[in-house]
Subunit: 160 residues, 2 copies
DNA sequence: CATTTATGTCAGCCATGTTGACTTTTTTCG
DNA sequence: CGAAAAAAGTCAACATGGCTGACATAAATG
């Protein structure tokens, strides 16, 4: 059991070190990456959505989000049905960056999966799901499913 | 692929949230946990060993290690064959705390494995190993093997 | 219209990681 | 033997990113 504890630690450390290289080049940090990632996956999401997904305070988010907006990676627009809201979209610049992150993260996972064999993907997925708190699994899986739907049919994203 | 990226993020977040509860109660942080964990696994390890495993600077380590020593969780002794070195051991107080961490982390993993079925442990192990940089795998596996040996035969730990 | 909600801002603090520089003691090796 | 190297430690400053509390504005709600 201790072995898996340690392997999880080392694996995750390497997993996040890949995007770090990109982040360092642009003067951003991991918090920026996370924000960019989820806005990429959920165009038109609200600030509140991000707070819920990332489980950070609005002050923490505000700092990072402001930099991403100021530097042209994210576009923040008032909602149509509720003008208090700020709906978040990636700019083309932001999308290009997000693609870079996805690519570099996917590479590591793809390589790991290919080493483990053709049927390992599903078991790994199940393991990671099982590592998530029971009460959160539904919302995480729903979040992922919804993002996949949007990727398949972009008209499903929230409009502004 | 994006699914696994996100699942890994959420899984790890939950994984480290368990020890956080303990840490918060004693006014320590994750860096303390990591130090305690590896000293537990490698009694008699040197400061340099910790720096290498954790890949942090001696200044970072020094701060946390000092607190653990000052508060009686870790015992630091000069080496016999090289008096420059500081060999690190857990005190009984430190061991008790380390046991708590191991227990709470093991619980989550054990539950996840039991959900995935009897043969999933080996595949999960392989996946996590495969997620580690190729050039680090040897040393990580050796580190784990060595710790397991010490756990099986404590006389193999470094003496001070 | 009073209250609530969504977002944003100000401020201060904390944990932990980094860099650079310097110090002391001990070990190494020519 | 002594210069150089090594192990550890310390001081200082800074960065990132998370937190708390308080406050403000605009918009929505009942």
């Amino acid at each position: 059991m201790l072995e898996l504890i340690e392997l999880f630690f080392f694996a995750y450390r390497n997993f996040v070190s890949d995007p770090d290289e990109i982040l360092q080049g642009i003067g951003f940090g991991r918090a920026h990456h996370r924000v960019l990632h989820f806005v990429n996956r959920h165009p038109g999401m609200r600030v509140t959505d991000l707070l819920e997904i990332l489980r950070i305070t609005k002050q923490s988010l505000g700092r990072v989000l402001r930099e991403l907006v100021d530097q042209g990676f994210i576009d923040s627009r008032a909602g149509k049905s509720d003008r208090r809201q700020r709906l978040l979209y990636l700019t083309p610049k932001g999308e290009a960056l997000a693609r870079q992150f996805v690519a570099i993260q996917s590479r590591r996972i793809a390589r790991a999966l290919s080493e483990c064999g053709p049927d390992s993907r599903e078991l790994c997925r199940r393991f990671l799901v099982a590592m998530i708190d029971t009460e959160d699994r539904g919302s995480v899986e729903k979040l992922i499913a919804r993002a996949d739907q949007i990727a398949a049919d972009p008209s499903r994203a929230r409009k502004a």
